[in-house]
């Protein structure tokens, strides 16, 4: 019986243990239920979004960007199809094998593709990774053939921006680059969008861009589209016609080859910019390729700043070209008449300091025409002394110096027109009369851009109407200059300018059959006490060269402003560049060629 009791007790003990086990299992089951509640009840919406991310793929439908044409309808910036390779690593069964497969077709190292993939995953973990651009059609075909075994690859057709004329139109057009953090912050750009930088691409971004569409498809776990969820059509960008004349533009850029500088050619009647060249230049097509950061670094660190548009972003002393403004100001203010003469012995003393003329032996007795023709410094020292800095500054501003021209090219600089107030404000000191003498020949603190120079020349060519320059074909007529320059004052100055080209310092720009008025300028970079030839000096110590001009003198239709950085004398370095452009212009406008002298 004792055994029986013991057995029964044992059975009860065991039953208790079973119940304890059951309670433990029950608690575990409750914990599991709790976990489902957390995942489904609490975080459900997040997981539902993840599920939608799984099944919905958004493909932007890129709006074709507006094509940019020159004035004759020749395309300058257009779109060509480019085949890019995208990799969706989630779809890949074995990423290493996928990369090996792709590397064999692309003829590259798997490791290189892996680095691109890793970099992409870090930045944009959910999007397919761009691992190759510009596939050949043969490569595209091989990826398409392997689509069943390698569904993780997708060949994506993108419209690639093509700048057919590469370096020749770089500064006018600008380029496209991937939208940066600042652009993304505006909310109108997504990661991976391209945005216009510099030039027309930037200025007319809103019109050129259009609006991207979107295709949302339902995909299965292999990435195969099983259904279309939604589609929004894109809106194409607006095409843009420029005032630029491709032939003149190419000529201008060619004339600047191996030089550092800028050329602006515009129609003085309406401000239409026919050519805007800057050297050294760059190939804007490089930026459309997204996988080449080394080119960007190289362009950024180039000491000659090829990205800079020197036509509008370089502000420098105008040198002797400023004598045009000085002559007109002197006449208008009646400090000289067209026949007033000054004697040039090679130098003159003002305010107890000797100022040299560029010609040591002197020009002798010169009136305004001769002073312009030979660019006599002493004549204009005298004009400058009689005018004083305030009146000089007023006339300089009248011609547009010291403020932006309003051109539709981004990044324009205003330059500087100094006066006493400027001196007090910026230098915290008085304006010295001796500085006025320097400014009279375009030296000193006065700074102008090549485009401002062209606009000034357009005003001179027009008899005072100063146009607003523009590269897009939308400019209006120039504004009339209200105050100031009497009609009779233009003629002697223009005669002087024509003499410059016919037989003066600008003769290197002489084109038979075309009457050109122009003015050279040479800007000293370092003070020279002994005169040595330009080619014997270090590049960065050589003078800057200017040449500004218009033609035909009687019915001006083209203004050409040339600036050559460290080119030496304006007569030798800048004037021949203008000559090349006038010759090209005459080819297009043979009607402007004057009848040969009989």
């Amino acid at each position: 019986m004792a055994n029986l009791v013991r057995t029964r007790e044992r059975r009860e003990t065991m039953a208790t243990r079973v119940r304890v086990l059951a309670v433990i299992v029950g608690v575990c089951l409750a914990v599991v239920a709790g976990a489902y509640w957390v995942v489904q009840g609490v975080h459900g919406p997040e997981y539902r979004e993840l599920a939608d991310n799984n099944r919905l793929r958004r493909f932007p439908i890129r709006a074709p960007r507006g094509i940019v044409f020159d004035r004759d309808g020749r395309p300058l910036a257009e779109n060509v199809p480019s085949y890019n390779l995208l990799l969706e690593p989630d779809t890949s069964i074995n990423v290493d094998k996928s990369l090996d497969f792709a590397a064999a077709i692309l003829d590259t190292e798997p490791q290189q593709l892996r680095e691109l993939l890793v970099a992409h995953r870090r930045e944009r973990p959910v999007e397919p990774a761009l691992i190759a651009e510009n596939l050949t059609l043969a490569q595209v075909a091989r990826f398409e053939l392997a689509a069943l075994e390698h569904p993780e690859f997708e060949v994506d057709v993108q419209q690639l921006r093509l700048y057919r004329h590469r370096e020749q139109t770089a500064h006018v057009l600008g380029y496209l680059a991937e939208a940066g953090p600042g652009d993304l912050a505006t909310g109108s750009y997504k990661r991976g969008d391209l945005i216009g930088r510099r030039g027309v691409e930037s200025q007319f971004e809103g019109a050129l861009r259009g609006a991207d569409g979107e295709r949302v498809v339902v995909v299965d776990s292999r990435g195969r589209a099983v259904d279309e969820f939604r589609r929004n059509a894109p809106r194409a960008g607006t095409n843009l016609q420029l005032a630029i004349d491709l032939d003149l533009q190419q000529t201008a850029q060619r004339m600047l080859q191996d030089k550092v500088g800028a050329v602006v050619a515009l129609d003085p009647r309406n401000g239409a910019i026919l050519a805007m060249a800057s050297a050294p230049s760059y190939d804007p097509n490089l930026f459309a390729r997204r996988l080449r950061p080394d080119d960007w670094v190289r362009l950024q660190t180039d000491p000659l700043h090829p990205l800079q548009n020197r036509s509008v972003q370089n502000a420098l002393s105008p040198g002797s070209t400023f004598k045009i403004v000085m002559g007109l100001a002197g006449l208008s203010e009646h400090v000289v008449t067209p026949d007033t003469r000054f004697f040039c012995p090679g130098s003159a003393v003002f305010y107890n300091r000797r100022f040299r003329c560029w010609k040591p032996e002197g020009h002798g007795s010169v009136d305004l025409r001769l002073a312009i023709k030979h660019s006599c410094d002493v004549y204009f020292y005298n004009v400058g002394q009689r005018l004083g800095i305030e009146r000089i500054a007023r006339y300089a501003r009248l011609f547009g110096f010291g403020s932006i021209t309003g051109v539709d090219v981004p990044g324009e600089k205003a330059g500087l027109v100094p006066d006493a107030a400027w001196s007090q404000r910026t230098r915290k000191g008085p304006w010295y009369p001796g500085e006025t003498i320097s400014v009279a020949i375009g030296q000193g603190p006065l700074l102008v851009t090549p485009l401002q120079m062209a606009v000034m020349m357009a005003a001179v060519a027009n008899g005072g109407r100063r146009p607003t320059p523009h590269v897009a074909e939308t400019g209006g007529p120039g504004r009339a200059m209200a105050q100031g320059i009497p009609d009779w004052a233009w003629r002697p100055v223009r005669e002087g300018l024509q003499a410059v080209v016919d037989s003066g310092t600008g003769h290197a720009s002489y084109v038979p059959g075309l009457e050109i008025g122009g003015k050279t300028g040479t800007v000293q970079v370092v003070a020279q006490h002994t005169r040595i030839k330009a080619n014997q000096m270090a590049f960065e110590q050589r003078d800057h060269a200017w040449f500004v001009s218009f033609a035909p003198v009687d019915d001006p239709q083209l203004v050409v402003a040339v600036f050559i950085e460290h080119g030496g004398a304006g007569s030798q370095a800048a004037a021949p560049v203008a000559k090349g452009i006038y010759e090209e212009f005459l080819k297009k406008r043979p009607d402007l060629r004057a009848a040969p002298p009989t």
């Binding site: 079973v18 119940r19 059951a22 089951l29 509640w37 997981y47 690593p89």
Partner: protein, 383 residues
């Protein structure tokens, strides 16, 4: 005192008076039939979910699953009708056959899911590990029921462990770590209920840790991956973490009320792997939401408590240990699988009882249910 199964006259004295009153007549009415009802409800839910899960598959699994459920019912009836005490007499030969099958499968079996674990008969297949599990449970219960002491002696624990370790080892070799692991809860629960000294328990736990550490050294690369991925799911989201992540997304996206039957995007668009077998519960969670999950978990809970109740009121140690063994096996399958689907446990090939598609395991579950209800049915038998 020996186990009652061996000494009929004495065992009659063991019966409690109130039980004696109902003995013999109307016994079928006192069996906990709700256990079978719940199992069938689960099987119906499972078949419906398998239908949804295989909608996008080349094979429609609904018909096969229903056939397996039907076969399971027959197996249930056969096992239910066999007296477990008679079965226990055959424990050793059954066990030997199970082990022999496990050895044979290593040489003649088919490889499925990376493990050589199947005997194929045309389109059908049998997993000998499920047969071995049944046989092992019977031998283990029979052996432990025969121990006399209040607590098991260390030597007896060693024998119990040995009984389980032999088939386990053979399954590990296949290699099917998850399948082998399913022997452990049975062993632990039976030994615990049979009685272990605290001191021995501590030593056993320590020994288990050491074995686990050594086992880690013998693990296959993918098995280690699974464990490491479980510990840190971000470790390899594209590789071993894929299943876990997709499963969790499926479960979570079901939210409260579910996406609707056959409407789960994770299942229907094939993001969810093994969705008709090991991850069937993720399909259910996605399409029926937390309400469906709670309903099925309640069914499982009532099933498990039914098993525990049968064990607690079993007539003898053998019946009690048998029922406890299967209770623990079911509990572990259910907890591990549902936990794995929601990301609480590492990915492993452990199916969900009555829901997951799969013939052998379905038959095992019905056989186990038959054994458990057979124990309940015979709690009043006077022999």
């Amino acid at each position: 005192m020996r186990s009652s199964s061996r000494s009929g006259p004495i065992s009659g004295l063991l019966r409690l008076p109130e039980e004696a009153a109902t003995a013999g007549i109307g016994r079928l009415g006192n069996v906990r039939w709700s256990l079978l009802l719940v199992a069938l409800m689960l099987a119906v839910v499972g078949a419906a979910t398998v239908h949804s899960a295989s909608a996008e598959m080349p094979v429609e699994y609904l018909g096969r699953q229903l056939a397996w459920v039907g076969a399971g019912l027959i197996v249930f009836l056969v096992v239910f009708s066999i007296d477990y005490q008679r079965l226990a007499l055959l424990a050793l030969p059954l066990y030997a056959s199970g082990v022999a099958l496990l050895v044979l499968v290593l040489f003649f079996g088919q490889v499925r899911g990376g493990a050589r674990s199947w005997f194929g008969f045309g389109p059908l297949g049998v997993q000998p590990s499920e047969v071995a599990k049944l046989a092992t449970a019977i031998l283990l219960a029979q052996y432990l029921a025969g121990r006399e002491g209040e607590y098991l002696r260390p030597r007896e624990i060693f024998v119990a462990v040995g009984i389980v370790l032999l088939p386990m080892g053979l399954i590990v070799v296949e290699p099917d770590l998850g399948g082998a692991l399913m022997f452990m809860p049975m062993l632990a629960a039976m030994v615990l209920v049979a009685g272990v000294r605290k001191r021995d328990l501590v030593v056993a736990a320590a020994a288990a840790l050491v074995v686990a550490a050594i086992g880690w050294g013998f693990m296959h690369g993918y098995q280690r991956d699974r464990v490491l991925t479980f510990l840190n799911p971000q470790r390899d989201p594209l590789g071993a973490g894929y299943q876990v992540r997709q499963s969790k997304i499926a479960v979570g996206s079901g939210e409260l009320a579910g996406r609707g039957y056959m409407q789960g995007t994770q299942s229907q668009l094939r993001f969810l792997p093994a969705r008709h077998t090991d991850y069937i519960f993720a399909v259910l969670a996605e399409e029926w939401g937390f309400l469906g999950v709670a309903f099925v978990l309640l069914l499982f809970g009532s099933f498990l408590f039914g098993c525990a109740e049968v064990a607690a009121r079993a007539r003898d140690r053998l019946g009690m240990l048998l029922a406890v063994g299967f209770f623990a096996t079911f509990a572990f399958h259910i907890l591990y699988n549902t936990g794995m689907v929601v990301g609480l446990a590492p990915n492993s090939g452990i199916p969900l009882p009555f829901l997951s598609y799969g013939g052998s395991f379905m038959l095992f579950c019905f056989a186990a249910a038959g054994l458990v209800l057979g124990v309940d049915f015979r709690r009043y038998v006077n022999r």
